[in-house]
């Protein structure tokens, strides 16, 4: 059964002065899925998320959200979205309880009990000022604040940046569990391939503001391979060159194609695939 679309970006572009942050970017995120948005630093991930939360507006292109074509994200739509930023800028004097009271008053769907449950589950102290919390606890508090309004869509901008590996794993596990229980659509950006592999069902790869891939992780893994040959070889129709001798094709193509003698077709890890998409220099893959 075809899942309905939570939001989509069609040909969205955005410039900051002379710098093009997004260049005709298109994405389609389905309801109830966890979507990993992979890209290098400066690829345009944060700009995309800022457009989705309404902080920025696109210069051109269209946005569909919850079945509506919109020009900008209105307050009403924002009330359906939870947002976890890279470095939460909470008021330093506010405790988790204070933040809950303040943020809760802005969302009609706010669930105080759920917020309290999330604080307990995520092990966030209620009465400690935010300036006294560690980076990891702040991120967890941010997640609790985002989820307590029972959002239809949870946007996260590199939420685990700055967390140590243990804290990152804990955070991701709890996020996965919460998503399983609530069925919220999650769109998160990251430059950590392992994290995306662990959490996401579908993935989008962005490079220099352009979408290079969008689809299922397994399909991605099956469709991208490295061709190792003695002589120079260019595969025929149906193969798209990603970088050097890394090609992408329908998984069935790889079995049906004819290869020169001595050729080796190697599958790649998701990290190598990401590197092939994301790197812009001439370095070859291992």
């Amino acid at each position: 059964m075809e899942m309905s679309i939570a939001f989509s970006l069609d040909d969205v572009s955005r410039k900051f002065g002379r710098v093009t942050a997004l260049d005709h970017l298109s994405l389609h995120v389905r309801e109830g899925e966890i979507y990993g948005f992979l890209g290098r630093n400066g690829a345009g991930k944060t700009t995309t998320l800022k457009i989705l939360i309404g902080i920025l507006q696109p210069d051109s292109g269209g946005i569909d959200m919850f079945g509506q074509r919109i020009k900008r994200v209105s307050v009403e739509l924002k009330q359906k979205i939870g947002y976890v930023s890279q470095e939460p800028a909470f008021y330093p004097w506010m405790t988790a309880n204070d933040l809950g009271r303040f943020v809760g008053s802005l969302y009609p769907t706010w669930d105080t009990q759920e917020f309290e449950r999330l604080l307990k589950l995520l092990d966030v102290p209620r009465n400690q000022r935010s300036m006294e919390l560690s980076g990891g606890t702040k991120t967890k508090l941010s997640l609790a604040l985002a989820l307590a309004s029972r959002p239809s869509l949870l946007l996260m901008d590199e939420p685990t940046t700055g967390l140590d590996p243990v804290a990152r794993r804990e955070f991701n596990d709890q996020l996965a569990e919460l998503q399983r229980n609530n069925g919220t659509t999650v769109f998160f950006s990251s430059h950590l391939v392992g994290e995306v592999e662990q959490l996401a069902q579908r993935v989008g790869i962005i490079q220099a503001g352009r979408a290079r891939y969008e689809g299922d992780i397994h399909t991605l893994r099956d469709s991208v391979r490295l061709i190792e040959t003695q002589q120079e070889f260019v595969p025929g129709e149906g193969f798209e060159r990603i970088r050097n001798n890394v090609y992408r094709a329908e998984p069935t193509h790889w079995n049906s194609a004819e290869w020169p003698e001595g050729a080796h077709i190697r599958t790649l890890s998701l990290e190598d695939i990401f590197l092939a998409f994301a790197r812009t220099d001439g370095t070859s893959l291992p």
Binding site: I55, V75, K78, A89, F90, Y91, F102, S105, L106
Partner: protein, 616 residues
């Protein structure tokens, strides 16, 4: 949404707000009490509006805007379902409300009080309220808009301050006449009448609208990225550039006075000095005929010309003399002229006892004051200037004998010490002008005899011919007295020793004349009256019971940090016996008191018992 933001900001800033309100109420109560005898209780409210109008916007805007954007917490707000316009307008409204609440309460109290003094009609109340509100809203909007210049806000305030000073100087339009300030500072707001300052109100509201528009532009344009950028930290290069700009601006403003010379004062019905002499004009009137006026103007002009040539002064002020028979012979008065350049002196030129030499000395002292661009001569050099003026003016032996006698009497009162010269203002305050001039004359005459004529001339030129800078550079100039004295081979210690020896010799030489001088010893005391008020009594005691001579009491209530006391500004009471000064002071007030007597033997007014003291 606005309510949520409002509650959040109230929780964050309630303590500061309540403390500010408490201080405002305290200030209002104190001002009401202090101005309880003023014409209207609204006078106290005006004072409050001016002070709080300057302070409260800073407090609230700093708390609501600066702390939000410098802490970058606006990024958190922007991710929540609130628009930027809502954020900015809520803060604007909240700051304004928090500022107005205590002022409205104070206004109501002042109105209630004023109502019992005078009838205030409804239209008057309406216009008065509009004037206060317009002024406060303008100051608040300005502070709010400047807060949105981020890290440049202090620069913006500085630029505004310098621009106001600059325009004020260039346009000679006093600041309190500018529309927003005029609304609150003018007396017509306290003592309302039916004339409505339409122009000021309209101009103020146009400024308010402009400032609000600027605020919205700064905060909303480019999706808030401008304000976020403006609140980023200042780089080292920026800091250097800003310091340079500040120095240039300060220098530019300090040059304003130089660039815009004030017109010279023109005296009507005056006889002017010859064209080849410095400009001196003397008014002719009933007490001074045309010939006498012409003679005095030429005489004064010649003195100025000679001293200018001797010291090589680069400029001289135009001097105007107004004969005034109503003044005492030994009283000379200098007019205050904020709009004109030059010196205007009033004196009883033709009256009995008028001392032409003292008069010229008075004029020359103020010529040097003018020449110093109002800075005056450094205190450690002042004795030298006073002495030089006397040395220049005293020519004949009889005058020299008189000066010697005066210096000898002064030495009896206060034996000469080195610190009397270095703290010359205190010495002059103790001895009075006449006697201190004699001491200075003695010291300078000795100095002139000790070193050769050309050295003395070059020393005087070096110290007095270089005009102090009229701007901020003045503060970096240092007194060169010690260095210049060393150059001519003399030290301060030697100068004082010489004078002490001479005075010792003169003490015995003029012993008879000095002993015949009769100086009253007057005691001053503060007597408590009703409440906290005190009156000041002067008592000539037993020794003065048979006194037949008129003596004067010179007095003044001192301001905090009061510096030099000008003889012309001291109050004076003439008396024959003990009495009470026409002055009421409060406990803790500081006063200056001294007794002065005219001495025929010295041809001089002798001051005694001068002191500054606290009323207890």
């Amino acid at each position: 949404m606005m309510r949520s933001l409002w509650l959040k900001d109230w929780r964050a800033h309630r303590i500061v707000t309540l403390v500010s309100w408490f201080l405002i109420f305290g200030l209002f109560a104190a001002t009401m009490y202090r101005l309880r005898n003023a014409g209207s209780p609204l006078d106290a409210f005006r004072g409050l509006v001016i002070v709080s109008g300057m302070v409260l916007p800073f407090v609230f805007v700093n708390r609501l805007v600066v702390s939000e954007y410098s802490g970058q917490t606006q990024f958190f707000l922007e991710t929540l379902p609130i628009t930027r316009v809502t954020i900015v307008l809520t803060k604007w409204m909240m700051g304004l409300t928090l500022m107005l609440i205590p002022l409205l309460i104070c206004f109501a109290i002042a109105l209630y009080q004023a109502h019992s003094h005078a009838v205030i009609t409804a239209p008057q109340l309406y216009w008065m309220s509009l004037r206060w509100f317009s002024f406060l809203l303008f100051v608040y909007s300005l502070t709010f808009a400047i807060a949105f210049t981020g890290r440049y806000r202090f620069v913006a305030w500085g630029a505004l301050f310098f621009a106001a000073l600059f325009v004020n100087e260039m346009a000679q339009l006093p600041l309190d006449r500018w529309p927003p300030l005029h609304l609150a500072l003018s007396d017509s707001v306290v003592y309302p009448h039916n004339e409505v300052p339409w122009f000021e109100i309209a101009a103020t509201w146009i400024l308010i609208a402009t400032l609000l528009l600027a605020t919205l532009l700064l905060s909303l344009s480019k999706e808030g990225s401008i304000i976020a950028g403006l609140y980023a930290r200042m780089s080292n290069q920026e800091k250097v550039v800003l310091v340079i700009i500040c120095v240039v601006m300060a220098a530019a403003v300090s040059q304003v006075e130089q660039r815009k010379p004030k017109p010279p004062f023109r005296l009507q019905q005056a006889m002017n000095s010859r064209e080849d002499l410095p400009a001196v004009s003397v008014q002719h009137n009933a007490s001074l005929n045309r010939d006498q006026a012409a003679q005095l103007s030429d005489e004064l002009a010649l003195t100025l010309k000679d001293i200018q040539a001797y010291l090589q002064l680069s400029a001289l002020p135009a001097v105007a003399v107004i004969p005034d028979a109503s003044l005492d012979a030994d009283v000379f008065m200098l007019a205050s002229m904020p709009q004109n350049d030059g010196l205007v002196v009033r004196a009883a030129i033709n009256s009995t006892g008028f001392d032409r030499s003292s008069f010229k000395s008075f004029v020359l002292r103020h010529v040097f004051e003018w020449y110093s661009n109002g800075h005056g001569v450094p205190e450690e050099q002042q004795w030298l200037l006073d002495g030089f003026i006397q040395w220049w003016l005293i020519n004949n032996d009889s005058q020299k004998r008189q000066m010697t006698l005066r210096a000898t009497v002064a030495d009896q009162q206060f034996p000469l010490q080195l610190n009397m010269l270095t703290n010359w203002m205190t010495t002059r305050e103790q001895l009075g002008d006449c006697m201190s001039d004699a001491v200075a004359w003695g010291v300078v005459s000795n100095l002139a005899e000790r070193i050769d004529t050309s050295s003395f001339k070059s020393l005087m030129r070096k110290l007095f011919s270089e005009r102090p800078k009229p701007d901020a550079r003045y503060w970096f100039e240092k007194s060169e007295l010690q260095k210049e004295l060393t150059k001519v081979g003399v030290s301060m210690k030697e100068i004082v020793n010489d004078m002490q020896q001479k005075l010792q010799a003169d003490q015995s030489k003029y012993a008879g004349a000095v002993d015949n001088l009769h100086l009253l010893h007057v005691q001053f005391s503060a007597n408590r009256m009703r409440g906290k008020n005190y009156e000041i009594k002067y008592d000539i005691g037993g020794s003065g019971k048979d006194n037949k001579e008129v003596f004067s009491i010179r007095y003044q209530e001192l301001e905090p940090w009061q510096g030099e006391l000008q003889a012309t500004k001291l109050s004076r009471v003439d008396a024959l016996d003990s009495g009470v000064l026409p002055l009421t002071v409060q406990r803790g007030a500081r006063v200056f008191t001294a007794t002065e007597m005219r001495s025929d033997a010295l041809q001089c007014t002798v001051r005694a018992g001068a002191r500054r003291w606290e009323v207890k």
